[in-house]
Symmetry: D2
Subunit: 108 residues, 4 copies
């Protein structure tokens, strides 16, 4: 995974993309939170009528697999843009949340 | 940002966390997509009654800022677990999506 | 409004529609709750990039107005089917909720 | 069901409730669409980790049944307020949508 783009690099690409198209006025925190929720709904839509078994096999069909990957990208895009606009570091926040959850849900 | 946890490391921590608590049977793709959508809704809830101006100042209040960070962590946690279960690399997918969008929305 | 179809009549039409197409196995409470959430996201999508002013004028454009009406119908359809499957009377529940809220949020 | 409150009567109660508390400025179409989506997420949350079997038995537990009824009321409340603000008749729209779907999905 060492050649993966980093989250910071993706955030910079997304910011440059929006700036080049003068889309920043639309990218308010409220609008980006709404867009994130809308895209999460589009990802859920793929699964809404599937049995658990069908849902588990969703990547076997190339067209559905493409749709899943595309919606994952959209969700991540809006999450990262939301974080950029508000100055939140999503990786640090998730690490801190896992730390808290290890205390909250101890393993016997 | 060089000391940030990586996405791959967070995915491993989340997998270990779920395995230690025997939560994997619940972490089907369909359930994780539903949970992602639910958490995105909880993030949006913070903003639902705010004017654009109030929404832009949401990090000035420590309690609201904590809530925003906590919901960002939850959204990212379910997105990463969804990707782990289905073998999707979210960073690669987002980079590919930005590539496609650069063709789809050319800058004059 | 006296010639409006009633909620009970619409629930019966929706049940007959699903039965005639053998769709009932898909109409589990969990799937219908997911579909309701997905359709609410599609309604929100219409508004996600609009200013409050633009959002208020959304019915002035015939195409957007049609889209709003169509998504309202979809949200109501899944809400009513969910209620039918679980034996919940949505009108009675809303009246009871308003009663509770009148106590919870007293007018000075 | 003849003693059920009507949708029109509930819309009037909701409008009077909001007016008495000076909440109308918050009840823009965009905010109400966001709130509807948030509440639909809260309804889905009840089901997110349940198997189809557990989800089907959700009304057997009095506490969960109350939560389901409460979230149904919230979803309907925001849907009706959204419709009031934009002048959409949800019952007429759903009847029209079923008409269209009968053409779109013919029974053999």
């Amino acid at each position: 995974m060492s050649d993966d783009p980093t989250v910071a690099a993706l955030q910079q690409r997304l910011s440059a993309f929006a700036a080049a198209r003068s889309w920043q006025p639309f990218h308010t925190p409220k609008n980006l939170a709404a867009a994130l929720s809308v895209e999460a709904g589009e990802l859920l839509e793929i699964f809404q009528w599937l049995t658990p078994e069908q849902a588990g096999a969703v990547m076997d069909d190339p067209q559905t697999a493409h749709r899943v990957r595309d919606e994952v990208a959209d969700v991540l895009a809006y999450l990262l843009q939301f974080c950029t606009v508000l100055g939140v570091d999503p990786l640090v926040e998730l690490a801190a949340k896992i730390d808290r959850n290890e205390v909250r849900f101890p393993v016997e």
